[in-house]
Amino acid sequence: MLPPLRHPLTIFCGKGGVGKTTLAVAHALGYARQGKRALVVTSHPLPELAVSLSLAGLKEKAPQAAASLFVIHIDPRELLQRAVRQHIPSQALAGAVVSSRIYQSLIEVAPGLKEIVFLERLREFAVRQAAPEDAGGYDLVVWDAPATGHFLQTLNVSRHFKLYLSGPFAALGRNVARFFSDPANLALFPVTTLEEMAVEETAELVHKLAELEMRPRAVVCNMTSPALAGTATKGIAAEGILLPAGADDPGLRFILDRLVVERALFERLRSEISVSATAVERRHRAGTDLDLLLELSERMGEMLES
């Protein structure tokens, strides 16, 4: 038996466009600022680009964090290629295999193959925690997961690896299934915005995770107004705010409409899931993307630890 992980694999999942990547990077940045080695693994190449843009200038502003924060994108096709090259001693033959059309098309259609390889790499990162004797390990590994459908499919694959009855990848499947079935190894944070479709999908996601016996630590409602998240405004309930008598104020009318919608969706989410929900306010005034990210990393530290 392996000892339990000091820091479980932290996963930000949820619908596309709700801010998973930003939250994942901010969370890791919080650790990196304390000098802990933090790794963000993203499944999609595009956010990585956006991330590197918003991290521009980190080295000047927070050198220690810059030295401890790592953001990488894993392409399962490359991992598969590496496996083939390791398995076949003749490099010429290995090259012919990976560039052959039959290999390329088979790995595209082979159900779950890419997912297994990806999850195995993630597992390796997570179990190889920072230790004095291992300079390459990480204190924290964060997975910026793909959008809900693909994320659930990926988890399902980890449970059904037995489809791979033979071949070198079957062994990977066993490792992956064991690791991802143990709740102690994972800290799950579904992310949502307070919009109708996102809330609906998040409630479904939490139920489907329950079927896989996975329980999120908390659902994070991202980009809310200060009326929901802000400490200064605690206790403002939309229904408690009234338009001053006789005022015909389109600006205030719009605000109140939005507040009612936001509050109603938050309550609906809370009533549909048996997991705590926490709100992260959208901030505007800070200067650059990096400032926002640094500021967010402070807020998240307190929020997710509690």
């Binding site: 619908k15 459908g149 791979y164 033979s166 107004s225 200060p226 409409d257 507040l259 505007h284």
Partner: protein
């Protein structure tokens, strides 16, 4: 024939915009079909899709106003149903039975992410056969939205393998006689691939595609035809749907991706733009003032984003449209009609 394809990342209101455009087209006299992929329950209600039916016509009575409207139909992409139907229609009963019972078929069906993209093109082809004049296609909400055209191409490559053809001919493809007719080089290569991926899996996949081949070839022919229509600027326009803060990134991304595949980008819709409205100095508590300030900041930021987007894409995208945030979620045809007024 007119096709409008709506692409965009999740949560931008793509389905609503597609449906509103279809409603507008229908009111202008088109026989229009809006094809959505797994819409949220609420929108399904909005469109009046109650049953799991193939497609259904929505009443335009509320908007007639004396003019002669066209027709509005809605269909939902049901992968399992479409694929089962395609299998039954294009093969002998015995073949169909073999395909439907094959383990790989079920795995494929379960990995809906892969099949949805394949079936979107198939479903568009059926709609063209059904005589619709205008198709409004809502794509899967992901950055890989264009897989619905890429996947069919991979798929048609796969079924054209010599290996798969051979298997189809002998049925018991692993028999020596079959493999012997392969060149030595291909055989060696194949053996290695099998070693890597596992013999059971590889054989199951090849076996499946061999049975599935007839169906798949038929599919590939139709898919190529549909993809060619998608490349024809006389027929198709792609519309990028986005929201103010995502507009810059989404616009760049989809212009590149669509351009690379030679698809015409016709429009960008920036949805959910918060209006910049005057707020009087009505006596507000300090807390409420803070909240009101936050809303005004957000509205201002939306407006700045809008200005940037107009500057950045004026040259590349012919039509740029902004839709204001509606007071409530889009629910019902009436709300779609309000949305359509902005298009």
């Amino acid at each position: 024939m007119r096709i409008r394809v709506f692409v965009g990342t999740g949560g931008v209101g793509k389905t609503s915009v597609a449906a509103a455009s279809a409603l507008r087209g229908a009111l202008a006299g088109e026989r229009a079909l809006v094809l959505t992929i797994d819409p949220a329950r609420r929108l399904r209600t909005a469109l009046g899709i109650e049953s799991e039916g193939f497609q259904q016509q929505l009443s335009l009575d509320a908007f007639g106003g004396g003019r002669m409207p066209g027709e509005l139909w809605a269909a939902q992409l049901d992968v399992a149903a479409s694929l089962n139907r395609a299998v039954r229609q294009t093969s002998t009963p015995k073949q169909a039975e073999a395909v439907l019972a094959h383990p790989i078929y079920h795995v494929l069906l379960e990995s809906l992410a892969g099949m949805q993209e394949l079936m979107a093109v198939e479903r568009m082809d059926q709609a063209i056969d059904d005589g619709f004049e205008a198709l409004y296609v809502d794509t899967a909400p992901s950055r890989h939205a264009l897989e619905f055209v890429d996947k069919p191409e991979t798929f048609s490559h796969l079924i054209s393998f010599p290996m798969v053809r051979l298997v189809g001919a002998t049925y018991h493809w692993w028999e020596r006689s079959g493999l012997a007719s392969l060149g030595r080089k291909s055989l060696e290569l194949y053996t290695r691939v099998e070693e890597m991926l596992g013999a059971t899996l590889t054989r199951q996949i090849l076996d499946f595609f061999s049975i599935f081949r007839g169906i798949a070839e038929d599919y590939a022919v139709r898919a190529r035809r549909t993809v060619a229509l998608l490349r024809d600027p006389q027929v198709t326009t792609f519309t990028v749907v986005t929201t103010p803060f995502k507009a810059r990134r989404d616009g760049d991304f989809f212009c590149d991706e669509l351009g690379r595949r030679q698809f015409p980008v016709g429009a960008m819709v920036v949805n959910r733009v918060w209006p910049v409205l005057p707020t009087s100095g009505a006596a507000l508590s300090p807390q409420m003032q803070q909240v009101a300030g936050w809303y005004q900041d957000t509205s201002e930021a939306h407006r700045r984003a809008g200005d940037q987007v107009r500057g950045a894409f004026a040259e590349r995208i012919p039509t740029l449209v902004e839709i204001p945030e509606l007071p409530a979620d889009v629910d019902g045809l009436a709300a779609l009609h309000r949305l359509a007024a902005h298009l």
